[in-house]
Amino acid sequence: MNIVTLALRMLLREWRAGELRVLMLAVMIAVAGLASVNAFTARMQLALSQESNRLLGADLVLASDHAPPPALAQAAQQRGLSTVQTAQFPSMVSTDAGSNLAEIKAVSNGYPLRGKLHIADSLFGKDRVTSDIPRPGTVWLEARLANALKLKPNDTVQVGYSRLKVAAILTNEPDRGGDFFNLAPRLMMNASDVAATGLITVGSRINYRLLIAGDTNAINAYRKVLASQLQRGQRLLTVRDARPEIRDVLDKAERYLGLAVLLAALLAAVAILLSARHFLRRHLDACALLRCFGASQRTIVMLYALQIAVLGLLAAVAGMALGYAGQAVLAAMLGRMAHLDLPPAAVLPFLQAALAGLVLLAGFSLPTLFMLRRTPALRILRRDVAAFDAVGAATYVAGLAAMTALLLWQVRDVPLTLMVLAELAATLLATALLAWGLVLAAGWLGARSSGSWRQGLLNLRRRAGGSVIQVAAFTLGMLALLLLTVVRGDLLANWHASLPAMAPNRFVINIQPDQAASLQDFLRRHDLSGAKLYPMVRGRLTAINGREVDSARYADQQTRHLLDREFNLSYADRLDADTDFVAGGGWHGDHPGPQFSVEQGIADRLHLKLGDTMQFDVGGTPVSARITSLRKVNWDSFRVNFFVVGNTDLLRNTSASYITSFYLPPAKVSVLNDMVRAYPNLTVIDVSAILQTVQDMLERVSAAVQFVFVFSLASGLVVLYAALAATRDERALETALWRVLGARHRQLWLAQVTEFAAIGMLAGMLAAAGASAIGWGLSSEVFKLPYHFNPLLWLIAIGAGGVGVAAAGVLGLRGISRLPPLVTLRDI
């Protein structure tokens, strides 16, 4: 008979006998968990990026200082993408009453490709969403320009050679972003009117943007094409480049979702490891018998490898189906809750999950299988012939390597994966050592106690090897569950805390020193207190360590762009109390010696380190100081943040204006009108749309993470089940023997409860230690959030571990203790 046919027959027989249930379940849940989490997070990420792209007005933007060749737009259109071009330039605009610098944006039909424009019919009127753009011959103005020029709708404004009619007040444009502080107020006009203004001539500084939107794959493909053809003066923008707040929140969202995938994959791996080991252990005698019947080692390996492969494939297919259903349920629930339209699921995550399940199955079963083929046939005559030595760590090198590769591949976040794996390895090592010690201690305690307690505790000692493996398995399962529940809750709470509901949604700039006191008074009167004023000095970075800065020397286009503009510097005696210094230890701004504190991101970008000297040109005066500290800045906190802060003595005498930010409740919007009337020179920047986007993302990611983690919980439970199933036979035999020897039901019960509770509590304690360490690592290193120690975690872990494992263990053995002992003894 063909070996494939024989393997299939054996598989069918084992399936009927129920032998494959645990392994099948483990692979199926693993694949289903991975598939649903992967597919769902992919959909979620796509939805988030589409959502955030509204702040760019497109999915992809080519910014250029010269008009992009029409061929680029045509090529995009041939790929099924939509395009629209804008041109932006500063120009003076005027009325009979005066003139003002405006940032003019010329747009054509279709703009914006993502997001919507908001306009109002009067200066302080209620705004509305519009799908239109200014009609030819008309313009839309930002309120502060209208204010400055005392314009209202239907007035006319001179733009270059043209006189254009003001048709509406522009209250929000999705891609207003960029550097708020460098921009003059907006005037939006129709692109067809630009030529007549005569403002675009040779040598004009025009910022052209080719906006592109459409299918994600087509966008990604075209992005690569564009990136390879970039000419000088051209750069590609994504929302991450345009808005650091969004970049931060997207990064964190991806990491939270990545963590969910990581834990799902990890639990899947452990479940498969335990059940593959259990399956192969149960087939030791069958292998010895096959050897007696004349099967060669190759035949045995082929027979079982084929069975495992077919089983894996079937489980993977079932897992993909279950995973599809799972992610559909997740998406439906989340879609309803977070009002987010998720794009359809892609096929790839399902195939990836199936492949991952098979790789894990192969990684954890093949090494054992190769040892199994060496089962001596003599075992059939003499049970004492040792056959199975698969506990040796070396056996699982292949499996662990497969798992690590899988995690790196699945999560694609090397620091996150390596950190979790390293802490996990440390936890497991500590678990093995501690568990060994504690098992010995339990034995010591057992020897000094009496009755069923004694037996329960001594059992731990008698099965020391098995107990340690079981404690390790429970620890791992519980650790993942703790990360899924308590630590995840803490992480999300910390994230929420970093972005309170009342985070500042308005920035006010251009506050003159003599207005500072009265403005603060104004804000206090309108209950907008708490708003702190920060001095803001504009300066161009001219030298680093005495060497002149030349932006052309930097390869990164963002860096070049940054160096070509002016920095916003500030000065202070003291920085905010929660400033997170990463180098230099602190800030002593009241010290007279010149010093700078620099944001870590910009320091990395410009290759700056502690002790380097930076020189700025501030209004023609060189200002130079050494860097004495580096700071982390949470851009998604929406507070006023500066890349570079100097000490007070250094910058006090430069010409500064002030900046502030505060939360303006929607009901108080009219206060702004009063403020602008009282202080016409102030510029109010409304970041509520961006803040809203960030807060929406946070809510949606939180909800998504909750749902995903609930799904991963199923994998955790399979791990615990597999860990219990692994020793079920041994315990069943022992229970039967105890019954034969006259043990009463209560004695048996107490001994089992004692042993299982001890295992559960040990595992709970170790899991709490591991989860605290990983939680701290994730919080401080990966998510960059402050970590708060949670003592409740330990109580929950030890309590729930003891009670849970005791209950599950006793329930699992309940059937056995009720069976007549002879039935059990014959079965095993």
Binding site: R9, R13, A17, D285, L289, C292, F293, G294, L381
Partner: protein, 220 residues
């Protein structure tokens, strides 16, 4: 079968413990031989060596003109598959398989195309036609051993090795099983080597090899 100077030692705490002292004997085709002796006398060790399940420390076993020592592990397994049938004290039926599937297994392994038919026929011969679809655990000890006998004879072995075939059975069931074993042995012309400490059972064999503390004392 020729056995020449066969001996087995195992290391125990750094010293060599002799389980079987050098032993030589022949067994002719169609013969029935009982290996008898007390517990720990080396009976099962000898049986394991005869079947090529274990490696001797010294000496050789020649089976059907081939030296087991000259074969590697897979070669010995192939020879077993071709020539030897086994009956064990603890039956060794695979618990996840039915009676029929247990009998089919060695036939399938040897590549027999009519495994099911042959297995059914053998189960009928041992009187278990109506128990084919029962799993091992659902059968009594006597029934399990009859399935094991059907499994052993199904591959038409030239040599049947039985290790305490009645050791786990009550006297009455044991007697029925022995009756069946000898009856089939006669019909099939199989060489039978069985290990037992049951003197009655040993007496039914044509020859007895008596082991005492690893020494073959009689019947050579």
């Amino acid at each position: 079968m020729h056995v020449v100077n066969l001996a087995k030692q195992v290391p125990v705490n750094g010293a060599a413990l002799t389980i079987l002292h050098p032993t030589s004997f022949d067994i002719q085709r169609g013969e029935s031989v009982a290996i008898v002796g007390a517990s720990g006398s080396g009976k099962s060790t000898l049986l394991g060596l005869l079947a090529g399940l274990d490696q001797p420390s010294t000496g050789e076993v020649w089976l059907a003109g081939k030296s087991l020592a000259a074969l590697d592990e897979d070669g010995r397994a192939a020879l077993r598959g071709e020539l030897i049938g086994f009956v064990f004290q603890s039956f060794q039926l695979l618990p996840m398989l039915t009676a029929l599937e247990n009998v089919m297994l060695p036939l399938e392994l040897s590549g027999a195309s009519d495994a099911r038919k042959r297995a059914q026929r053998w189960l009928e011969r041992v009187g278990l036609a109506d128990r084919q679809q029962h799993r091992a655990q659902q059968l009594s000890g006597g029934e399990q051993q009859r399935v094991a006998i059907a499994r052993a004879f199904a591959v038409d072995p030239a040599l049947l090795l039985a290790d305490e075939p009645t050791g786990n059975l009550d006297a009455e069931t044991g007697a029925r099983v022995i009756e069946l074993l000898f009856e089939l042995n006669r019909e099939q012309g199989t060489t039978l080597v069985l290990v037992t400490h049951d003197t009655e059972l040993a007496a039914r064999c044509g020859r007895r090899l008596s082991l005492h503390a690893g020494h073959l004392e009689s019947g050579v």
